[in-house]
């Protein structure tokens, strides 16, 4: 905990120091530290840490003064928590930037995050809880030269843990809001149309002992968004020239991707609410990194969203979550959301909400060319054509209902098929078919005190067999919370693995400051945010988390 205190103090002192220098502007920021002890528990597979305790921490400071903004992030990993990439070592200031914005101009030097279109061609972002950070280091200029026209360009290297990857990325993106551009010609009822296009190029030293590699790899994308009354349609197409890499086994085949979503939402005449969503995605050989020899989640230039529903209840969220397969994937998703209004037969006194969601992902059709010793095209694929290998499917129904001022509940059922071999890269593992049942019961004792009980059961004949989870949470608004969680692998085929994983949490919140203390056993699983997942090993110990923003 000593390190935590030091980090917190140095963060506050530095802030005070900056505030004094720049009495004109404002300083604000945020802070987080997670410190965890690790005790050995060979039954659940938890390893002890030689250091006894591990700690991840960061502090962001942003200084603004009129049109000028500058910021740094101090990060410390002493040593990095288990399950995070080991590349995070020691302490440093890997993120720092200065930004100047005046009317149509926006110039950034240093580190920055960026997204073109859907991100399928370029996206730099951070998920600190995952250890994901592929920020650019370089410069970026954004210009708005004429009403409705937005241009962005960037030049930089990408962050890899405490350093940078070898590739240089250049990109330009343009977006036109047709309605803003032609505001005098178009009526207000005309559909809102936004058009966009991007070009991204990566340079990497092509020297290689085995292959003749392209030094520059270009990729481009077009997109359109049309919003009309209650409808919204988004479509983007991405193409990338041949980009031999460790991901695709150094084949010289171009890549492409297509994403479209269509949504409809309305308030029906009788007062009920309706929302419908459909999404489709096709991806072929589209892994694009600023180092062709990298793997895992490192140095991705682009981002391919998973077209599946991210779940929040822990068995559904952490045992069999799907992550996009950038080498080839055909995916569909549909969702129906309906709200029966208050006072109707099905709505009752407070209304009833129902969500039905279905998603599926398959491999794409590939005709092997057996040319790895000659032209190395690898295979032929036809756009939009899938094959019969199921990667994932999830059909789920959720009912949300308030019965009285005191009591409300959520009931949920999920049916999941999960190809472990493909999604987790675990050869020889079976396809997992699982049913998950969830009841989330909420009892409001009075204005401030609340009790919540979560019951979950996962049933499967494969993998680790059946699981159950019970969570009891007691909160006193606005400051306190305490929770007891038990996960129980009651259906494991192996007797000695039918274990309980009890975990206790206690916390205090004051405004934007939060401290929580957790103790107990955590099961190995996948921790996912936004379709990017990190395997978290089992652990047993005490965790202290402090977050603050100021």
């Amino acid at each position: 905990m000593n390190q935590t205190l030091k980090l917190y103090l140095s963060c506050s002192l530095f802030t005070l120091f900056l505030t004094n220098i720049y009495s004109q502007g404002q300083i604000h920021g945020n802070f987080q530290v997670i410190a965890q002890t690790y005790d050995k528990d060979s039954l659940i597979g938890a390893n002890a840490a030689q250091e006894k305790m591990l700690m991840n921490g960061f502090c962001n400071l942003i200084y603004t003064n009129k049109d000028f903004t500058a910021g740094i992030r101090y990060e410390t990993y002493l040593n990095v928590l288990q399950g995070f990439p080991n590349g995070y070592k020691g302490t440093g200031i890997p993120y720092r930037f200065a930004q100047y914005r005046k009317e149509q101009f926006d110039i950034t030097v240093g580190s920055f995050y960026e997204q073109f279109g859907s991100g399928m061609i370029l996206r730099a972002y951070e998920e600190r809880m995952l250890g994901y950070d592929n920020a650019f280091e370089g410069l970026r200029v954004k210009i708005n030269p004429y009403k409705g026209i937005y241009l962005k360009s960037l030049y930089g290297k990408q962050r890899l843990f405490m350093g940078y990857g070898p590739g240089i990325v250049r990109g330009i993106d343009g977006e036109i809001s047709v309605n803003e551009l032609l505001d005098t010609l178009l009526s207000a009822n005309f559909p809102q149309i936004t058009l966009g296009g991007s070009f991204v190029s990566r340079y990497q030293d092509p020297t290689d002992l085995t292959y003749i590699l392209p030094a520059n790899v270009g990729s481009w994308a077009y997109r359109v968004n049309i919003a009309y009354k209650d409808f919204n349609l988004f479509t983007e197409y991405v193409y990338k020239i041949n980009d031999p890499s460790a991901d695709n086994n150094f084949i010289y085949k171009p890549g492409q991707g297509f994403l479209t979503t269509l949504s409809y939402a309305t308030n029906i005449k009788n007062g009920d609410g309706l929302g419908i969503l459909a999404g489709y995605k096709y991806v072929d050989n589209l892994s694009f990194r600023s180092d062709i020899r990298e793997g895992l989640q490192n140095l991705f230039i682009n981002y391919m969203p998973a077209l599946t529903k991210p779940h929040t209840y822990n068995l559904a969220a952490t045992l069999y979550p799907y992550a996009t397969q950038p080498l080839g994937e055909w995916a569909l998703q549909g969702e129906l959301f309906y709200k029966f209004k208050k006072g109707s037969a099905l709505g009752g006194k407070y209304g009833t909400q129902i969500t039905i969601n279905a998603s599926t992902a398959y491999g794409i059709h590939k005709e092997p060319l057996n040319d790895l010793s000659t032209t190395r095209q690898g295979y032929k694929a036809r756009i939009f054509k899938k094959d019969s290998t199921l990667y994932f499917s999830d059909i789920n129904v959720e009912i949300r209902k308030k019965i009285s001022e005191k009591f409300k509940f959520v009931l949920m059922y999920l049916n999941i098929a999960y190809n472990m071999e493909v999604v987790q890269g675990l050869g020889g593992k079976p396809m997992v078919f699982a049913d998950i049942y969830i009841a989330d019961l909420n009892y409001k004792i009075n204005k401030k005190h609340n009790l919540r009980l979560e019951l979950q059961a996962l049933q499967t004949k494969q993998d680790q067999g059946d699981w159950a989870t019970v969570l009891l949470e007691y909160t006193v608004s606005p400051h306190w919370f305490v929770a007891v969680l038990d996960q129980y692998n009651y259906g494991n085929k192996l007797d000695y693995k039918r274990l309980h994983y009890p975990y206790y949490t206690f916390g205090y919140i004051n405004g934007s400051n939060r401290i929580s203390i957790g103790y107990g056993k955590q099961r190995a699983g996948l921790f996912c945010v936004g379709g990017v997942c990190r395997p978290v090993p089992a652990s047993n110990g005490l965790t202290v988390t402090i977050t603050s923003s100021f």
Binding site: Y113, E175, A265, L307, E335, K444, P478, I509
Partner: protein
């Protein structure tokens, strides 16, 4: 806590998108000199939706009494951004909604995790914020709104 440096902290500038895909600069958020609540949420965040559901039930009353406006900033990325409009409209949330798909506004506002709720006074100064949501937290928020609405 140690940090009381906020002083003249105004809503920072970041580009977010409206539900029909247009760009919007957050520095332009305003409510005719009345308070604004800025709530960061996501379609996959259960406590966020609970908070906004609960506020939507009392929103009319809040508005009548204080003139407050709630701006809900979804941090859903491409994976879920298309779900924002159907969720909001079908639930009937009467809030102003923007999508912060690459979390530029979230970063500028120093949000660690969602839900995170800010209160902005009539002059555009951020005067109070709260991380997390537990049942009943909206009462504290409403007390704060009333105290600055006068």
């Amino acid at each position: 806590m140690a940090f009381t440096l906020r002083g003249d902290y105004k809503i920072p500038s970041a580009i977010v998108k409206t539900l029909d895909g247009k760009q919007f600069n957050t520095a332009e958020l305003s409510n005719d000199g009345k308070p604004i609540v800025i709530s960061f949420w996501a379609t996959w965040c259960a406590p966020c939706k609970k908070e906004l559901d609960n506020i939507s039930e009392v929103y009319e009353e809040w508005q009548k009494e204080t003139g407050v406006k709630l701006v809900a900033i979804s941090i859903d990325d491409t994976r879920n951004a298309a779900k924002v409009a159907p969720t909001v409209k079908a639930k009937g949330w009467p809030f102003e909604i923007y999508i912060d798909a690459n979390q530029d506004f979230k970063r500028a506002m120093n949000v660690n995790n969602v839900p995170h709720t800010f209160l902005v006074d009539g002059k555009g100064h951020i005067v109070w914020d709260h991380n997390n949501y537990s049942e009943g937290d909206e009462n504290e928020l409403f007390e704060k709104i009333k105290s600055i609405a006068k």
